[in-house]
Subunit: 754 residues, 2 copies
């Protein structure tokens, strides 16, 4: 058990590294040459003038105005200044609500911390005095502040039980208020006109011997929604076309690269080899080669495009059906169409950018099978992931390498190599797996057949959350791989399990404090520096950028990665809730994390991130549920801990708390969740009526035309218009493309973009 001094040292080290990151950020950020790395959002919106377009030559690359360096922390107040409504308009509701999770952390934990320090710390501290350590008052062991200091059977534990009640009810109160606020925000946000408000995604269109999908859909909805059906858009299977487009884009990049190279050094014509990965084969002129290849691809692409649009087999049995009013769409999305509930399935259409096109045509029964397989796979991935890794690690050990690759024996027996293999390789293997994990989970979600990027993200987040709870939280408390834990738990009684874990809880407090500082504090500070995008931008900028458009393409604004960052964030809620009663000293560290992360992410969503889609904060029910899961875990562990302290009398009281928590979850679900799943008819009617009176001549059919066309089929229009525009006015062209790739529906540019 570390003393407070140990923790302080660690805190200082981590604070210093955080400050170093922040200083580096402050300096790097102010250089005009990096402007596009740290303010891409504004470029994509087309409202930031490049700082490199004015000033002297040196000023274009290096900021020589030293006054700006002094105020190196001035991004913080700037990040906090933008009012929330403006933030929603600027960055979208998803981002604005996402950073509210950090704020929610503060709202929950600041009062809990104050109360903990006012009540539990004195109770714990003074409990030990009567016993043994009366002499070493100066000695400041963290244990003195935690529940471990209270002797078994003490009446003081009632204070902990009482505080568990107070903290739970406080969390309920804040969660309820927040859920209410977010659902109101979502309803307000949906006030602007968006194509998805009028559109329903219909899947599992049954085959018809006499009609094409196109006709079948039209007839079905004309008959079953006679007064409301407006039009529909069939879905083309454009996967091959999308591949071709992707390939062409990559070839174009190479062409640009060699052109730039040639321009800089006109003496030597760049050559490449045509074979595998450019490693062997005939050597040809690179520029000519890519020119002809691109031409070939363009032809192929045009053919494929023709084929996709004309071939009835390229149409998948799904469609986007649009209605004359929001009311009609709301009705169709919420009702069952056919008596066979596996066909004609309707749901709200996701926003056009949010559609995951590959999954629109999976048959119902296949989805059921896929979900079963993925559920089994997730179980094994979560509980047995250490087995393949252990296998790889065994192979990556000295003996393993010697055995399989005996010719490396002499190399491996060098001291430097040996210590590297022994010391780092197992860790690197694990790290690589942990980096791959989100991708594996996302692939699993894709296999499960979800039809929008937002639902894929939410689903992956759920999987990752399970993984974090089992392998990071419980894995840290009880040492040993997850499958060993599982085995142990299967052979222990249900009442033993919380005891086993609860008893080790206070001992792990210092470990988690260190974890919070390394992963939370320094990690967040590293996030703001954006080292990888910084390096990548400069590489691209040097080799690939010829036009303003290329430069825009070279920017990698990134986006909030909900599927990874939210479950990680939930770990902090879990730690805070679990330790709020057990070891209150952990709480201030969590508060610092939430406050700092809130500032950093607010800055990032204002200046950097460019969301790929906008789901209208549809993730909030998940956030709420996961915090309540954390609360239940904290209560279970408290039961376990207290029952090892001879206060089993408190168990029924805490079971009541668990029942109340589960009930509160149900209450929240019943009260608010429908706002995130359904569209109330009352709102639809109000919006329809307002629109009809303010814009009686609005052509909805025109507005919805092509809104749900596969993006790859739409690209051609943009490319043509871009090439046309570029010749006349490159600035407009740039703006236009940026809108295509970033059009936030919230700012109302969607109409002219389509």
């Amino acid at each position: 058990m570390a003393s407070i001094q140990d923790i302080s040292v660690s805190a200082v080290i981590n604070l210093i590294s955080a400050v170093v990151f922040l200083l580096a950020f402050a300096i790097v950020r102010l250089q005009p040459i990096n402007d596009r790395v740290y303010f891409p959002k504004w470029y994509l919106k087309g409202i930031r003038p490049s700082p490199r377009s004015s000033g002297t030559f040196a000023n274009k690359f290096v900021n020589l105005d030293f006054r700006t360096y002094i105020r190196f922390l001035n991004w913080m107040p700037a990040a906090l200044k933008m009012p929330e409504q403006e933030l929603i308009d600027h960055a979208g509701l998803d981002s604005a609500v996402y950073i509210r999770i950090y704020l929610l952390g503060l709202k929950i934990f600041v009062p809990i911390t104050i109360l903990s320090f006012a009540v539990l710390v004195p109770v714990n501290w003074t409990a030990g005095e009567t016993l043994e350590h009366i002499e070493d008052l100066t000695f400041s062991n963290i244990d003195r502040l935690s529940i471990s200091n209270v002797p078994s059977g003490s009446q003081r534990f009632w204070a902990h039980v009482m505080m568990a009640y107070v903290f739970t009810f406080w969390t309920f109160y804040i969660l309820y208020k927040e859920y209410k606020t977010v659902s109101t925000m979502r309803l307000h946000f949906s006030e602007n006109r968006r194509p998805d408000q009028f559109t329903v995604l219909v899947k599992n269109v049954p085959p018809d011997p006499d009609e094409s999908v196109d006709e079948h859909v039209e007839h079905f909805f004309r008959v079953n929604h006679p007064d409301h059906y407006l039009s529909h858009q069939v879905v083309y299977n454009a996967n091959k076309l999308a591949e071709l487009v992707e390939k062409k884009k990559s070839f174009r990049n190479w062409l640009t690269y060699y052109q730039t190279k040639y321009e800089r050094n006109p003496v030597k014509k760049p050559k490449i080899k045509t074979g595998f990965w450019g490693l062997w084969g005939k050597s040809v002129d690179a520029i000519d080669y890519y020119m002809t290849e691109i031409e070939k691809l363009s032809k192929e692409e045009a053919e494929e495009r023709e084929k996709v649009i004309s071939d009835p087999n390229a149409i998948v049995p799904a469609a986007f059906v649009s209605f004359k009013s929001r009311w009609g769409a709301a009705v169709c999305a919420q009702t069952q169409q056919s008596r066979n509930s596996t066909i004609w399935l309707t749901e709200w259409a996701p926003e056009p950018r949010d559609v995951y096109w590959d999954n629109l045509s999976i048959p119902y029964i296949q989805i059921a099978v896929r979900r079963l397989l993925m559920a089994v796979a997730l179980f094994f991935l979560t509980f047995f992931f250490m087995i393949p890794i252990g296998f790889v690690q065994a192979f990556a050990s000295i003996d393993g390498i010697k055995k399989v690759l005996p010719f490396l024996k002499s190399l491996i027996e060098m001291d430097v190599v040996k210590s590297f293999v022994q010391g780092f390789l197992p860790g690197i293997v694990l790290k690589i797996f942990l980096i791959l994990l989100p991708m594996i989970l996302m692939t699993m979600s894709k296999i499960e057949g979800f039809t929008s990027l937002s639902s894929l993200d939410r689903r992956s987040a759920s999987k990752y959350h399970l993984f974090v709870i089992v392998n990071v939280f419980f894995g840290s408390i009880i040492t040993g791989a997850a499958f060993q834990q599982l085995q142990r738990f299967l052979n222990q009684s249900p009442t033993e399990i919380p005891k086993t874990i609860g008893v080790t809880l206070p001992m792990k407090a210092t470990f988690f404090i260190t974890f919070i500082m390394v992963d939370g504090w320094a990690g967040i500070a590293a996030e703001i520096l954006r080292l990888v995008p910084l390096v990548m931008f400069h590489i691209k900028n040097t080799f690939l950028v010829k036009t303003e458009h290329d430069r825009e393409q070279a920017m990698d604004p990134g986006s909030l990665n909900f599927s990874v960052s939210e479950p990680r964030l939930q770990l902090y809620f879990l730690l805070g809730l679990v330790y709020s009663v057990v070891t209150p000293i952990l709480l201030p560290f969590i508060i610092v994390f939430f406050a700092f992360a809130y500032m950093v992410f607010r800055h990032q969503i204002i200046n950097v991130y460019d969301q790929k889609y906008e789901s209208g904060a549809s993730f909030w029910p998940d956030v709420n549920r996961r915090i309540l899961i954390g609360l239940v875990i904290s209560q279970l562990l408290l039961i376990g801990l207290l029952s090892t302290k001879d206060t089993a009398k408190s168990t029924p009281l805490l079971i009541v708390l668990i029942v109340l928590t589960i009930w509160f979850h149900k209450l929240c679900k019943g009260r608010f969740e429908s706002v995130f799943v359904k569209c109330p008819l009352q709102d639809a009617v109000v919006k329809d009526t307002i629109e009809r009176s303010t814009e009686p001549n609005f052509n909805l059919k025109e507005y919805l035309h092509n809104a749900y066309l596969h993006p790859v089929l739409k690209v051609v229009e943009f490319e043509v218009s871009k090439e046309f525009d570029e010749e006349n006015n490159p600035l407009v062209a740039t703006k236009r493309i940026s809108q295509w790739s970033s059009k936030t529906v919230s700012n109302g540019t969607a109409e002219d973009g389509i």
Copy 2:
């Protein structure tokens, strides 16, 4: 462990008692005087001529045609003869589908039994030969046929695992087919016009300062369903009125009783005392007294009726809203109306007879609290019900009575009394509780706030099913009260629990065989005799019957009590599935039960039962789920049993089976459940279209007028018409009343009844 001889003796005894019941039934049923007890359904339909209206005097009471006695089992083929479609028209879909559960039992278990006897019995039988009992081939212990005969670690257990797979998949196949059939039947059944097809129940109408509930509902639906809203019916709080009506009815019965008494013995005018329960007070002329009382009540009732209809405070915040088409109602029932999902809640209106009027006005949050409390109460009722009973039993013991009522000491110490107290009282206390249990569960369901009788029945059945599984099934296998089991399980590891139970399974087979014979065979035979209604009818007939109408009232046709009989039935499925692999000898007993019960209940629903409501087989999803729960329990117990037999290798194989079963449940739910919960728009459109073309001038508003008026407010109309009709043509009047109390919507008489 009982031998086959023991079982045979028990079987013979039970068969004899069943035959005695059947003989008694055959004799009693043929007497014309009992005709209304055994054929009330036909009287209620008005299509059975009374056998007493013709023939000699003796023939009116006793059947002297001895030929009819010879064919005493001829009700059996008669019961099976009616084709299913006719049965649905005659008895309603609920009843017709309910008896399909017995048929389902046969479909599942007949092939399973054949396979079991062909494969498992030889495997079990021959397993022991190589071991010890080679000499006693003649000795027929049931153990020889069961899995206990197979020695630990034998390879023969693979046969059992394989058969578990075969049985599971066979059950899946039958369940899937049956679910499909029932959902098709439900969809066909809904083809006739019914008021509930056009009507939606809206609850939680928010209060409005400026408008009454009436106006508020109208405005809301006129705005939000502008093209579809037709009319609505507010709900009156007529509880007090219903009480008055009830009281008046009882007074009328007494009046009739005294009038009959007076007519039979005109010398002595009957007198009663006016005080408490007629035990003291002033003695008055009974006929005069009831005459004036009824008059007083009639006045009071008229006033109350006036008050209910005119007082705005008597209107509860709920309403039945009707739409111009089935499409409009389907849309409104399936969509969310308001952004606040706790107000304007819409659901399909239950059939008018099915409405449970008292629960229409409970606020949302109160329902949430009530359900929480009832869930907790159910937990304690299920697991701790033995504690209060034990307390009462302790009090009802010799010592308890001596202590509390010392003056009974001498009485109690008499041998007869003593043995009664010791031998019977504890059993009687338990029996009384078990008889009260369904009522307690129904009260709990009512507190939970369900709004239709059918949902109350389904909900009570769920609760009773839990009770049966925990206290009857597990309670019989592991002796000891449920809370002791609970405590044991909390202190055992999850893998220990199935082992503990699994190991005792084969030993309990004979107990369950006896149980099936007593509860199943003899119990069902007693059901058909209808002893209680028989006695009650004759009492009523003697004292209360003056008119044909009174005689009709005196009949108690009863009805299928779904909330009790279905969970009990599920116990047989559970036993069959659990023992199919373990002790196949149990299966024939279950088959006999299902076959016999099928015949008896088919007879009862044709000739006797009169359902109180028609829900369109909405209970089927529950039936399907519970059979699958039984399947999972059987698989878990098999895992436990096999792992004590040194064949832990089979555990993963059986876990796969559990996962598949849960997945099959989800599949069924996704595929079929919506038919029972929602109304597909496609069907609504088809029916609307057909109706519009066949009956273009049909006045829907007239048809729906008063369909959803509180029955107590409608009674007056019937009473008036009855009194009017009776003077002219009693037969028509009788028919009319019978329609009011039994109108099956399926036979299309609903229109003229309203």
